[in-house]
């Protein structure tokens, strides 16, 4: 696919409600490759642009299971197979004593997968992204709300999309260079 001449068009809004409305209208208009930016999480906005489910919970479940099973197997292998020691006549596989470490490893696995899984799903770290080329975008981390429609969207048309964004009552519409 040929690279479009610009990355997309970005509209700036004043309030979370305006952003949500704009996001819903853009989605209804048929735009699918778009993103919204806000200084704090707004649950409805990600739904409005068609991002309904996060895969993070599944990743955490896998991490927790790997940690827990791995933790128990490690103790089993060490205490039963590789280095069996008779302590007070207890069975080599004295599972009640292994619960604590198994539990801690479950938590550790889940937490590591939660953080690194979230970063990976978000494609972070990403030192460069075209949206930062818009000067006003620095306010996305303060008090402004942005909606960006990517030029890669099949329905994107430089003039028509700009007209559409203007119709949403934004503070400003700007071009996002690559």
């Amino acid at each position: 696919m040929k690279r479009p001449p610009i990355f997309g068009l970005m509209a700036e809004f004043d309030s979370p409600s305006d952003l949500l409305q704009a996001a819903r209208k853009a989605y209804a208009e048929g735009y699918r490759r778009l993103d919204a930016y806000s200084p704090f999480p707004i649950e409805q906005v990600s739904e409005a642009i068609g991002h309904h489910r996060s895969r993070v919970p599944l990743v955490v479940l896998i991490g927790g299971l790997l940690g827990g099973i791995g933790g128990y197997l490690m103790q089993y292998w060490i205490s039963v197979l590789n280095y069996p020691l008779n302590v007070g006549g207890r069975p080599l596989n004295s599972w009640p004593s292994f619960i604590v470490v198994t539990f801690e490893m479950t938590i550790l696995g889940g937490a590591l997968f939660a953080v690194f899984g979230m970063l990976a799903l978000n494609r972070l770290p990403m030192p460069y992204h075209p949206v930062f080329n818009v000067e006003r975008f620095a306010f996305a981390s303060k008090d402004r709300f942005f909606l960006c429609i990517y030029a890669a969207d099949p329905r994107f048309d430089r003039a028509q999309t700009e007209r559409f964004l203007q119709s949403l009552n934004p503070k400003q519409v700007s071009e996002v260079p690559h």
């Binding site: 806000s38 991002h51 470490v101 801690e104 889940g110 970063l119 978000n122 996305a140």
Partner: protein
């Protein structure tokens, strides 16, 4: 956030979570200005300097320890666990309030936590660092500390997983790792804010590097919120488990005064008790000197005081049951342990502990006291001292006179014990000062969600 906290508060007559009149911009500017544009005051330099000097004292104490060995401390046979274990338990307990605030209160949907979770989590991290030093220094040969972890080695030996001391290694290292991750994840959006706000090139690069290109995308927020909530869900059982495992170090043994099933719940309650005391000790000066009374309001201080009062009563119940069980068990050694605590050579410390932990905090029943910043500060310091004495009494009085009269002994801390202890307090102070200077001490993005403007209006639905 379903309801507007400022409105809700004014209706119920309580102090609000955040003073009215703030906007997204002013919240952002107020918190980030402390880091970015406020001049470093003489007070900061002096506070940091004191912490730094005491950290140097810690380095001296530790260097001498490495040269001479643990013999420079007051420990002996039978009291092999002296200050090192007392301080370890005390510090790690202090850390617990941070996780309680950041994780448990998040799950319980208590939005007032948003203005105190960040520095409470930082407090947790630094307290766990201080705690972690002690068992390692106490090893005797601290340079072999990595032997605690199961790793393939040429000696062909492995840790003993039936030992609570090994459980502790896993519990504390997991606790530190998860606390660090939780804290850092919470910081990412605020680091993005600092990156966009900072004027100097260096600060921009540093915060930008740490923010990892965070841009507040709706897709990112969705994954972010999910991960943050799950981390809270994982940290909640973890924080309860950590002090439980610490109490197992004692309870699994057969020593009178240690071998009791009340230990896990009473240790966890005590941890939260001392932790909230430390939260108040940190919050009260911060809100005064940085003018953050609008964000860390009387509501926060009062709630913390209530948590202290509750957990303090659980701790009191623990003491009561300890005494009752020693009598009810009809075991000569248990009963002697109790008598020795109350009337033996360490009795003054025991009664001071009862005063600090049980008697004095009862003033928190009074609303007047809970509304007075000065008295809250005084009570918190008292509780911190009391909780330290509690660990001293548990560790020392149980060890010093056990089953055989011939093996009795006394424990007196040496100056090196004190230097190490005071040194870690200095390290904690220094780390907190650095944190306040270089990172946003209140979570900016979570404060924005507390504002009435953050609510997506009904017209959009």
């Amino acid at each position: 956030m379903a309801e507007d906290p400022t409105v809700e508060a004014s209706q119920s007559g309580k102090a609000p979570v955040i003073a009215p009149g703030y906007t997204f911009a002013t919240v952002t500017d107020k918190i980030s200005a402390i880091v970015l544009s406020r001049r470093t005051t003489l007070g900061w330099v002096m506070g940091f300097g004191v912490g730094m000097l005491l950290t140097m004292l810690l380095l001296v104490a530790v260097s001498y320890l490495f040269l001479k060995g643990v013999g420079i401390w007051g420990i002996n046979m039978p009291i092999a666990w002296g200050f090192a274990i007392v301080n370890f338990v005390w510090w790690i307990g202090i850390g617990h309030a941070g996780t309680l605030i950041s994780a448990i209160l998040l799950l319980l949907n208590q939005p007032w936590r948003n203005s105190i979770n960040r520095f409470a989590e930082a407090m947790t991290l630094f307290a766990v660092m201080c705690a972690g030093m002690f068992p390692i220094l106490h090893l005797g040969r601290p340079w072999l500390a990595y032997w605690l972890f199961p790793y393939p080695n040429t000696m062909q030996v492995w840790p003993q997983f039936r030992s609570p001391l090994v459980w502790d290694v896993f519990a504390v290292s997991t606790y530190f790792t998860v606390s660090l991750l939780f804290w850092f994840v919470g910081l990412i959006p605020d680091l993005g804010t600092l990156r966009d706000r900072s004027q100097s090139r260096f600060a921009r690069a540093a915060y930008g590097f740490l923010a990892m290109g965070w841009r507040g995308s709706a897709r990112h927020w969705k994954n972010y919120e999910s991960a943050y909530l799950l981390l809270a869900g994982l940290a909640t059982p973890l924080v309860v488990s950590v002090h439980t495992v610490v109490s197992f170090d004692f309870a699994i043994s057969i020593l009178p005064g240690w071998h009791t099933t009340i230990f896990p719940p009473y240790f966890v309650a005590g941890a939260i008790y001392s932790g909230f005391a430390m939260v108040l000790v940190i919050a009260i000066p911060i809100r005064k000197y940085y003018g953050l009374g609008d964000m860390i309001t009387m509501r926060h201080l009062e709630n913390s005081a209530k948590v202290m009062l509750t957990t303090g009563l659980v701790v009191a119940y623990g003491y009561l049951i300890e005494g009752f069980m020693a009598w009810y068990r009809s075991d000569e050694f248990d009963f002697f342990m109790l008598k020795n605590r109350m009337l033996g050579p360490y009795a003054p410390l025991y009664w001071l502990l009862i005063f600090c932990n049980i008697v004095a905090p009862q003033v928190l029943w009074s609303r007047r006291v809970r509304q007075s910043v000065g008295s809250l500060f005084a009570v918190s310091i008292t509780v911190l001292i009391g909780m330290w004495l509690e660990r001293f009494i548990i560790v020392i009085t149980s060890l010093h006179r056990d089953f055989l009269t011939s093996s009795w002994g006394m424990y007196y801390p040496t100056k090196w014990d004190w230097f190490t202890y005071v040194g870690t307090i200095g390290f904690f102070v220094m780390a907190m000062y650095l944190f306040i200077r270089f990172l946003p001490m209140i979570s900016i993005f979570e404060m924005r969600t507390l504002l009435p403007q953050a609510e997506v209006g009904a017209e959009a639905k």
